[in-house]
């Protein structure tokens, strides 16, 4: 395998509030390879979106980010703000869950694309207009020349997401960070947007980090998956291997919670309890209080993310005792 283009080393994002300090991202180590789609999955509050925002330094006070984000030989966390502006939106772009709040409601779509082009490319005048039309066409918006003058509210939800992708791609980024890009969309539109993203990734040679809570979306789009729980990465594996045999008790629980074909009207294998409070994490494995495999060792010490093969990492000391694939129902 080639050199990773992005390396996260001990990334830690803490929010200091009046009610105490919340560690939203707790020592995340992760590598991303060129041309790869990496899925970052987890439930709400697991820290997946904050991880993404920390990469681009979009975390605002009272949040603080420490550790290292190594991108093309530089640590993004130590760059000056003017230097960072050249990375953000140019080399690394981001798209969000709710395009209506990410787009400017009082600016025509065409102007919002042109803005990015003026800021991040050498184009000017007529060529900006031409490139904007080209971009809208690329993301599958019909009659793009006419729609340049439209405002975001004149677009449907799916079209807005397409427009946002067009803006993100305007600068030919090498990395696209996608934060739940299809969660607000209907399933037929979600299908269209995901296929579009995969197609664009191939034609433009980008890498993608896709944050989602939907395991189906992960299975259909990602080559590699990192599972997060309570701010930590608990398992990393190629998608095919992860779905065939999870090596962390939490991943196993997640897969078992999703209803699958052939299990009609039978109780689902549920995970008891609720995710832990980030301000009061247990000293050991954060999943231990809800886990069926917990032993004294799990409660006492925090397991670290360790390699169990060339391609897989897990932070579960009982990874070899987890139930077989046959018991993961789908």
């Amino acid at each position: 395998m080639s050199e990773p283009i992005l390396v996260l080393k001990d990334l830690r994002t803490v929010f200091h509030t009046a009610r105490g300090s919340f560690t939203a991202v707790d020592g995340v180590n992760l590598e991303l390879f060129p041309g790869e789609v990496l899925g970052l999955v987890g439930e709400s509050g697991s820290g997946k979106s904050v991880t993404l925002r920390s990469i681009l330094r979009l975390v605002r006070p009272p949040g603080t980010v420490s550790g290292e984000v190594r991108w093309q030989g530089r640590n993004l966390l130590t760059l000056s703000e003017p230097q960072m502006r050249k990375v953000r939106g140019r080399e690394i772009s981001m798209i969000f869950q709710e395009p209506m709040t990410a787009l400017n409601p009082v600016l025509p779509i065409g102007e919002q694309i042109a803005e990015t082009l003026r800021e991040h490319t050498d184009l000017s005048g007529k060529s900006i207009q031409a490139r904007a039309v080209e971009l809208l066409e690329l993301v599958g918006i019909p009659s793009p020349r006419e729609r340049l003058r439209d405002y975001p509210h004149q677009f449907s939800g799916g079209m807005r997401q397409r427009a946002m992708i067009a803006i993100a791609l305007a600068s030919n980024p090498k990395l696209l960070l996608a934060d739940e890009p299809t969660t607000a969309l209907d399933v037929t539109i979600q299908d269209q947007i995901l296929k579009l993203l995969l197609r664009l990734k191939d034609t433009l040679g980008m890498s993608v980090i896709l944050v989602t809570h939907d395991l189906g979306v992960v299975a259909q789009t990602c080559e590699r998956v990192a599972v997060m729980y309570a701010g930590r990465i608990v398992e990393v594996a190629p998608a095919i291997e992860l779905f065939a045999q999870p090596r962390h008790a939490y991943t196993l629980g997640l897969l078992n919670s999703v209803p699958g074909a052939g299990s009609t009207r039978r109780p689902l294998l549920q995970i008891p309890g609720a995710p832990p409070d980030l301000a009061a994490l247990p000293p050991g494995c954060p999943f231990a209080p809800r886990c069926a495999f917990t032993t004294a060792e799990c409660v006492a010490t925090r397991p670290s993310l360790t390699a169990i093969s060339n391609t897989r990492l897990t932070a579960c000391i009982h990874q070899d005792k987890l139930t077989k694939t046959g018991e993961v129902a789908w």
Partner: protein, 334 residues
């Protein structure tokens, strides 16, 4: 099992949109959102009927019309021999006791200033189901039934997590001893691991209390898991209604087929690079003439743009489909 408890016939509901001055001056008619158009279906006693579709397909409007939160424009709803749409006063209150609704967001449907105990007590006393001295016992019973801790009674809704709040919503609905539950996107706002807990609770309660359930949702996997039969809606109409496994193994309507193809499968080995269906949902302000799906349908032909296909039985398996493709070939008009 086969006894019909709820029969819906030709139910329609439109919502007026604001009548702009420009439209008025130009003499244009007032525009309406066509939320439900001639919906007909039957629910059998003790079954779970799944109602599935994308946003704007009218599934929530249907649920709300059935409990009379909305007044339908036209059509008929019959519940156990009662004409539901004609009910007034005490009759309506009695019907609402028998048919209860649970909402997607329990935080906005529970009174934030009433403790769980107060909410439950009110429901029980309004319907006169218990003598006042029996109420505390009944509340404890209900909390246990939905798996909430005993001290929940004296706490306010904001002190609970999303999954627990949904349990409170279910306990509130069950407090009046209903026969039928209408669950509108019951678990959509919950994380998967918590979703499974609530789904299991619903399955268990239905078994114990012999409930009839209308499960309205957009998640196909959940609907498949919970329902005996499924109705698929598109742009205010039911396009297919059949037993769950038949729907998922051999969908008949092109829209059902597209919906199933679009739902992401949990198997990374089965990927497709082709989009399940092109185009977007048409606006319910201006639904297309003929079959609502024809502008996106890969198999649409001339007739689809002109004539609305009726929802009619197809084949021996009790499948209802509204599609011209499945109709016996007719002589084209000369």
């Amino acid at each position: 099992m086969s006894e019909t408890i709820l029969r819906v016939e030709g139910l329609s509901k439109t919502f007026p949109v604001s009548y702009s001055l420009v439209d008025r001056v130009q003499g244009k008619p007032r525009r309406r959102v066509w939320a439900l158009t001639e919906v007909s279906l039957e629910v059998r006693r003790g079954e779970t009927l799944g109602i599935v579709g994308e946003s704007g397909c009218g599934k929530s409007t249907l649920a709300r019309c059935l409990v009379r939160l909305y007044d339908a424009d036209a059509g008929k709803v019959e519940y156990d021999g009662l004409d539901v749409l004609g009910l007034r006063g005490a009759g309506l209150r009695h019907y609402n006791r028998r048919v209860q609704m649970v909402f997607q967001d329990p935080f906005s449907s529970l009174n934030p200033r009433m403790t769980v105990g107060q909410t439950l007590r009110e429901a029980i006393l309004v319907h006169g189901l218990r003598k006042p001295e029996e109420v505390p016992g009944r509340i404890r019973e209900l909390l246990e039934l939905v798996g909430l801790p005993k001290d929940a009674e004296n706490r306010l809704p904001h002190e609970f997590s999303g999954g627990q709040r949904q349990r409170i919503g279910i306990a509130r609905a069950l407090s009046v001893e209903p026969e039928t539950l209408i669950a509108d996107e019951l678990v959509s706002a919950l994380d998967v691991s918590v979703q499974a807990q609530v789904v299991n609770l619903l399955l268990e309660l239905q078994e114990r209390l012999h409930l009839t359930v209308l499960f309205v949702a957009h998640d196909l996997r959940l609907v498949r898991h919970l329902s005996h039969r499924v109705a698929v809606m598109y742009l205010g109409r039911v396009v297919e209604l059949v037993e769950t496994e038949k729907l998922f193994t051999s969908p008949a309507h092109p829209y059902t087929q597209a919906l199933l193809r679009a739902a992401p499968e949990l198997d990374p080995a089965r990927k497709s690079a082709v989009e399940a269906v092109k185009g977007e949902l048409p606006s319910p302000l201006n639904p297309p003439p003929g079959c609502p799906f024809h502008p996106r349908c890969p198999q649409a032909f001339e007739r689809c743009a002109k004539e609305v296909p009726a929802l009619v039985p197809r084949g021996p398996e009790g499948r209802w489909v509204a599609c011209h493709l499945l109709e016996p070939a007719e002589q084209p008009p000369v």
